[in-house]
Amino acid sequence: MTASCTRLAARSPTPGLLEAVADKLLSGRGIWPAVPAIIALTVVAVIPFIILLSLGFSQIEMERGTIVSQSFTLDYLINALSDPLYWTTFQRSMTLALTTTVLCLVLGYPVAYLYLIGGRWTRRAILILTIAPLLTSGIVRTYAWLVILGGRGVVNTALMQMGLIDRPLRIVNTHVAVLIGMVQIHLPVMILPLIALMARQDRRLEEASYNLGASRLGTLWHVILPMSAPAIGTGTALVFTLSYTTFVVPQLLGGGNYLNAATMIYEQVVYSLEWSKGSVSALILMASCLVVLTLIAMATSRITRWTKGRDA
């Protein structure tokens, strides 16, 4: 400590004590500058997670707001797992999230391809159209679908003017409406990692493919698609996590009665104040989410290794 202080003093002609301390603390060589962040993360995230875990697995007796006794129990987990409502709810969330992820990939990948082959202005337009929705509130974007799909909305007006239907179709409050909203909300999250990869892509590989006589479709299938495996992995993981745990779209486009995992947890925690039940639901949500994310990560690394191995 003293040695380093003298070294600092030697370097700067008139070192104020404050500056010497700042040098020591802020140089970024030691861990000190990160300590406030570590404390915040520990106190506001990690410890609460541990508490959540312990709440889900303990029998708590409370008297006048203070905990009297606490003992380990698996009751809440067993109750949850033997409750058919849990299974249907989580299954609904899972199906919705997986469908959303696949549709986002199907709609998002072509945009990334257009970005790859597009010129400067096409690329810029795609970037703006992708980033702008991310900066807009999810509620605003979901509300737009109420307007589009609603009784007097865009779709119904158009269909009625074309004479295809007499009365407005009921689209809002159906599974389809929720799915449409989900895909649109999460599409930018799929596209961003894909175009980030496309921007780094070495285009000489494509050229080589064309020179060897491959068609555009062949090049896309044999060269571009295999190379985008890591980005597809990132995109699907992000979209899955967000759509599996979302709250807004099912609430707004599914009407009040579309129960997915997130809305169920909200009801347990905020309306019925069932803490242990809510904790267990949150833990199941997190655990099942992690399982799918692990599968995605494993598949991605398998495919990446396979394409690399094939090239070698």
Binding site: G28, A40, L107, Y113, I131, V140, R216
Partner: protein, 271 residues
């Protein structure tokens, strides 16, 4: 780059389908916002498409309703608090992650990611319960600090990736010219990091302003933020008023977009 001169029919069809899908996706991305903007100027008192007439009345009403103005102010405050906290906590952490000379810098960058990897509602529930156990109820402060922890990773990652691409020899040069580490940091590194910090600030502000998943469990019941207020309003009000509030938010998003493109350039978002 030269694609083959006379592509086969399947090739044309396949690529055509790809490009058609791409255009469809881009329309899906942008159309909803445009439709909401159109509706917000409708003169009728119910939501219907196509809109008729043109009026700023709904926007006037937005700012005449105390509940909405208050909610906007609340969200602005939370957004600014989150941004400031993320800068204060995140920038030094990014510095340590990249320049730290101790074992465990990698562990540190992973640790920062933990809250971000967890679904927002799980973090929200956890913070609500933990707070209640030590007697801290939901409030604007709790909301701000939870969202900060949730999005800190965004700030750290943005600054970190910029820092990794900075030439380390710039710092060495400063040291050789007699600058203390603090002086080097203040006069060399910080100005170079500014664009990344700005971009991180925009994204963390938006998250603080718009976040629902964490906020719905941690916000103060008397200080409802705008998204929560809006969520209730969308379900109960069927006038273009909601569209006008959305219009205000879209304007905010456009400002944010301009801010991002001035700070790191649009292409920088990818890093």
């Amino acid at each position: 780059m030269k694609p083959p001169r006379n592509p086969a029919l399947t090739d044309r069809l396949g690529i055509g389908a790809m490009l058609a899908l791409a255009v469809l996706s881009l329309v899906i991305l942008v159309a909803p916002s445009i439709i909401v903007l159109m509706i917000s100027f409708d003169t009728r008192a119910f939501v219907s498409f196509p809109p008729q007439g043109f009026t700023f009345d709904w926007y006037r009403q937005v700012f005449a309703q105390d509940v909405l103005v208050e909610a906007m102010m609340n969200s602005l405050q939370v957004g600014m608090a989150v941004t400031i906290l993320c800068v204060l906590l995140g920038v030094p952490t990014a510095l340590v992650c990249v320049r730290g000379r101790f074992p465990g810098t990698t562990a540190l960058s992973v640790y920062v990611l933990v809250p971000h990897m967890v679904p927002g509602i799980v973090l929200g529930v956890a913070v609500l319960f933990a707070g209640a156990l030590v007697g801290i109820g939901p409030s604007m402060g709790l909301q701000a600090i939870s969202i900060t922890v949730f999005v800190l990773a965004v700030m750290v990652r943005t600054v970190q990736s910029r820092l990794q691409r900075l030439d380390a020899s710039l710092d060495e040069a400063a040291a050789n010219l007699g600058a203390t580490p603090f002086q080097a940091l203040r006069t060399i590194t910080f100005p170079l990091l500014m664009p990344a910090i700005m971009a991180g600030a925009v994204f963390t502000f938006i998250e603080g302003f718009d976040n629902i998943s964490v906020a719905i469990f941690t916000h103060g019941f008397r200080d409802r933020p705008l998204p929560i207020e809006l969520l209730a309003m969308v379900q109960s009000v069927n006038t273009p008023l909601v569209a006008a509030v959305s219009g205000v938010q879209i304007l905010l998003a456009i400002l944010a977009l301009v801010a991002v493109s001035f700070s790191i350039g649009l292409d920088g978002v990818n890093d």
